[in-house]
């Protein structure tokens, strides 16, 4: 267990090292702090002095070490746009994104497991085929398009009545395609304050309503993937000898499906889930842009559009940190669920 943790920690440090090198190179090459600090009018000699004073003429390695030391203390300098420490800016935007990701993950877990299991147990059922069909279409639709369609349907509403309203079927079809709209699709409403910079959308009905559309959009890209994965793995497990043996022992089908089969199914799903967390965070940038959700993704995009290099660097470092932490957690969970992995990193 301890050996495993040390190994993981080492791996995590390595990844963070790579990320920090990249982040530092960005800062080193693109940000000119002097320009930011003093503006255009200061003569070159003064700038040079300031540069010397700030250590900007030091060799690369010295500068990198200084950067790393500050980074370890979460100090990445000041944001140009907000004119306050970047770490504070990022941390202020962090809860919104985390809540969106949490709601999405909840949605994915709650839907993908039952649907995946069902369509594996009854692969020929009409409902299973329907789910499979929808999921292949779902994979093909980019997340921002899903979001736009959802906004049109549930926020703006469809008042379009192309079918002749005087016939029965026409008005029925018109009723079918018209929606009322009215769902909030802009920002996160009026979240409840918890403490510090953390405002939550989970504490009030209004907050939850604001979460609905963004979370569905974000889930729409992952859900089909997980449904298909769970179905494929489950189908394979159901063919296995130990499932047959469990049946020969006279165990109830429910126990076979939900204990024997599902536990084995979840092992590869957990691994893939770990990898997909990265993708999920990347997609928050798109989702937050569409819904103007005031999270890190939207902040990052603004930082890019306004060339706020320190803020970009901080975002990269903190997102990198989140990836590393979640990946380690996922590995840990995998090790706890799968008895054949002794938590030393080597399969026994």
């Amino acid at each position: 267990m301890i050996a495993f943790l040390i190994k993981r920690l080492f791996h995590a440090l390595l990844v963070m090292f790579v990320i920090s090198i990249i982040a530092f190179s960005i800062q080193d090459n693109l940000g000119d702090p002097i320009q930011q600090m003093v503006g255009q009018s200061v003569p070159e000699s003064e700038r040079e002095a300031l540069r010397e004073q700030l250590g900007l003429n030091d060799p690369f390695l010295v500068q990198y070490l200084r950067f790393a030391k500050n980074a370890a203390q979460l100090d990445f300098g000041y944001s140009y746009i907000f004119n306050e420490p970047t770490t504070e800016v990022v941390l202020r935007h962090l809860p919104a994104t985390l809540e969106l990701v949490a709601a999405t993950t909840l949605l994915i877990v709650l839907l993908s497991v039952p649907i995946g299991v069902y369509s594996a147990i009854r692969p020929r059922a009409l409902l299973s085929r329907f789910f499979m069909g929808v999921s292949i279409v779902g994979i093909s639709i980019p997340v921002f398009l899903t979001a736009i369609v959802l906004i049109q349907l549930f926020a703006i509403g469809v008042t379009w009545t192309p079918f002749p309203a005087d016939t029965g079927w026409g008005s029925w079809l018109n009723d079918l395609i018209t929606t009322d709209g009215g769902m909030p699709a802009y920002g996160r409403g009026d979240p409840v304050h918890v403490f510090g910079t953390w405002y939550t959308n989970f504490a009030s009905t209004e907050g939850l309503v604001y979460l609905v559309l963004p979370a569905i959009s974000l889930a729409s890209i992952m859900l089909p993937l997980f449904i298909r994965l769970i179905r494929a793995e489950m189908l394979e497990v159901l063919q296995s000898e130990y499932v047959k043996f469990a049946r020969a022992k006279g165990i109830s089908l429910r126990r076979i499906y939900f204990l024997h089969a599902l536990k084995n199914t979840m092992l590869p799903v957990i691994t893939v889930g770990g990898v997909q967390i990265g993708t999920l965070v990347a997609y928050t940038i798109l989702t937050e842009t569409v819904f103007q959700w005031p999270g890190m993704g939207l902040m990052f995009l603004n930082a890019i559009n306004r060339s706020d290099i320190p803020l970009i660097v901080t975002y990269l470092m903190i997102v990198g940190l989140i990836f590393v932490i979640t990946n380690t957690l996922v590995d840990l969970i995998y090790g706890l669920v799968n008895p054949t992995v002794k938590l030393t990193g080597k399969p026994a």
Binding site: L30, I148, I151, G278, I312, F323
Partner: protein, 278 residues
């Protein structure tokens, strides 16, 4: 179906009723006209017009062309990088293999979209907005190519490792052939069919990535729109009720990607190579 798409895109200048890049043909007064089946439409613009008064049908045709060019270009670059790195990793093994695969792992754990966004942001910051717009197509090819090579490299590496164990490679080596020759003349041809299959999926991915980047404002400028930037420009007007500007190119994008994905499925069934899991 796919061929129809490619044909439409290639023939866009002749098929399209108007040239969206030609300012002279644009009538700002005719902006935000709806498509033909809704009241208030103008028969000259069958799919309606966008906010700048461009004919939507023509713009979509041109946009699909841009999307396809970038999709294929990016995949060609990915394939080149992926095949070279994959062959090196798989054939030479050892440190090079470990280094390249670790790099691919890290990049994949960040997800290709994230890498594309970051690289896109950097490229834009380096070149500045105006230059970026001017050279958007090659730059987007570069960005998406750089972001998505690991998938290729892994597939190639896996099939190289499988091929390497076979006897004809040993035979070639005992004949004293140089390793480049063994790699390119003997192993590469045998890894072609999995490469072919993932290429179709990758084209779809690249088109989606391009659309996502454009949607974020890191891609094609609105004066020279791809499907993604059309969706973005239309999205600003969705609240005012002009849903067609964003949803029609969106539907075209979905159908395009779906068609490519189905083509990929079909190819996999036809070629039926053992698909190597990463």
């Amino acid at each position: 179906m796919f061929i129809v798409f490619v044909a439409c895109a290639v023939l866009a200048p002749w098929l399209a009723p108007m040239n969206p890049y030609d300012l002279a043909q644009i009538d700002i007064m005719a902006s935000e006209l709806p498509p033909f089946w809704i009241d208030g439409s103008d028969p000259a613009y069958r799919m309606g017009t966008d906010a700048q008064g461009r004919d939507l049908l023509s713009t979509i045709l041109y946009g699909a062309r841009v999307s396809l060019i970038i999709g294929f270009g990016a995949v060609a670059l990915q394939a080149l990088l992926g095949v070279v790195f994959g062959l090196m990793a798989g054939y030479l093994g050892g440190r090079i293999d470990a280094f390249l695969m670790r790099l691919a792992d890290i990049q994949l754990s960040f997800s290709t979209l994230m890498v594309a966004i970051v690289v896109g942001a950097l490229v834009k910051a380096i070149f500045g907005g105006a230059t970026f717009s001017a050279y958007a197509v090659p730059l987007l090819v570069l960005i998406i190519g750089l972001a998505e090579w690991p998938q290729y490299a892994r597939t190639v590496r896996a099939s190289v490792l499988a091929e390497k164990g076979k006897e004809y490679v040993d035979a070639a080596r005992t004949m004293g052939l140089p390793s480049q020759r063994i790699m390119f003349r003997h192993i590469l041809p045998n890894t072609l069919s999995p490469i072919f299959v993932i290429s179709t999926v990758q084209v779809a991915n690249a088109i989606i990535s391009e659309a996502a980047l454009s949607f974020l404002g890191l891609g094609m400028p609105e004066t020279h729109p791809s499907l993604g930037s059309l969706i973005k420009s239309g999205f600003d007007y969705i609240q005012s009720g002009s849903w067609w500007i964003t949803l029609i190119p969106g539907a075209v994008l979905v159908v395009l990607v779906l068609v490519i994905n189905l083509l990929g499925d079909w190819l996999r069934d036809v070629l039926n190579p053992r698909l190597y899991k990463g």
